[in-house]
């Protein structure tokens, strides 16, 4: 498994569509700031419609919300959640990674998608799975990395 180690810089120096990085303090107010920055980056560099853009931002938000709620303090960077995006021009694939410092307390089996029977975290998880083309969750003692992938994105 390739552990992703995000750079310490808060914002990339250049505004290109191949790469985007944002770190945020581990609280929900910080997540809102990242949402706005991500939405702006998507709007500047991609032609996807508003609904698609909203889907990306919502799915990434749920990953950050889980990182804030269920992540443990990162001993190196306490209270940090890092969100990065990389776009591959050839495959038109957008890969967003959300990393925290701890391990999610995930249920052993995925919660059912039946409305009304999902626990709160199950809805966030369901949104991530339904709004992405591919979703990977890699928990470890050092931190959890969530990878959200959209293919054929313009």
């Amino acid at each position: 498994m390739n552990r992703f180690h995000p750079p310490a810089a808060d914002v990339t120096a250049s505004d290109g569509r191949s790469h985007w990085v944002h770190s945020v303090s581990e609280d929900t107010g910080g997540a809102a700031h990242v949402r706005g920055e991500l939405a702006g980056w998507l709007q500047r560099h991609f032609t996807m419609n508003e609904q698609r853009r909203g889907d990306v931002v919502l799915a990434v938000n749920e990953a950050m919300a889980n990182a804030v709620e269920f992540g443990s303090p990162n001993p190196i960077s306490p209270g940090m959640v890092v969100c990065t995006a990389a776009y591959d021009e050839h495959t038109r694939t957008l890969t967003v990674r959300v990393t925290d410092g701890g391990r999610w307390r995930l249920a052993a089996t995925p919660p059912p998608l039946t409305p009304g029977h999902c626990p709160r975290r199950g809805r966030g998880m369901a949104l991530m799975r339904l709004l992405t083309d591919e979703l990977r969750i890699d928990p470890s003692e050092q931190g959890t990395q969530v990878t959200l992938i959209w293919i054929d994105l313009r």
Partner: protein
């Protein structure tokens, strides 16, 4: 955590923890409308829940949550809606005006439009839920 910011206008009488979120209540006969603006996420969803609790304290026949001015609705906000639905119905009516795509999309993606009562407008909701039974 940011300092509480007094709400401006409306009769909400509540403090907002975020300038990105606002909630106001108004009554139409025995129906209370909880109008939400801005972003409903993990930080602001508890305020929506508190506003609904306060609305319920007025013993309404029905509660309507108007999301037409919402720009973002996260799972935390969906949980408030579903919890409210489970707690107040059927004794008290509960309707949701989704409005634009920001609120409509997460609701329909999860199939919650088959659980919650979605109304096209506040006027429709008040008319449909304002009866005595």
């Amino acid at each position: 955590m940011s300092h509480p910011i007094p709400a401006i206008g409306g009769d909400a009488g509540a403090f907002s923890v975020s300038p990105r979120f606002g909630v106001q209540r108004h009554w139409v006969d025995q129906v209370v409308v909880v109008a939400v603006s801005g972003e409903v996420d993990a930080l602001t969803a508890p305020q929506l829940s508190a506003a609904i609790d306060e609305a319920m304290a007025g013993s309404p026949v029905a509660v309507i949550v108007d999301l037409s001015q919402v720009s973002f609705l996260a799972a935390a906000g969906l949980s408030v809606l579903l919890t409210t639905h489970g707690q107040v119905t059927p004794n008290v009516g509960f309707g949701v005006v989704a409005g634009g795509m920001a609120a409509r999309r997460p609701i329909t993606v999860l199939g919650l439009d088959h659980v919650l009562l979605l109304c096209p407008t506040v006027e429709d909701a008040v008319r449909d839920l304002g009866g005595s039974g």
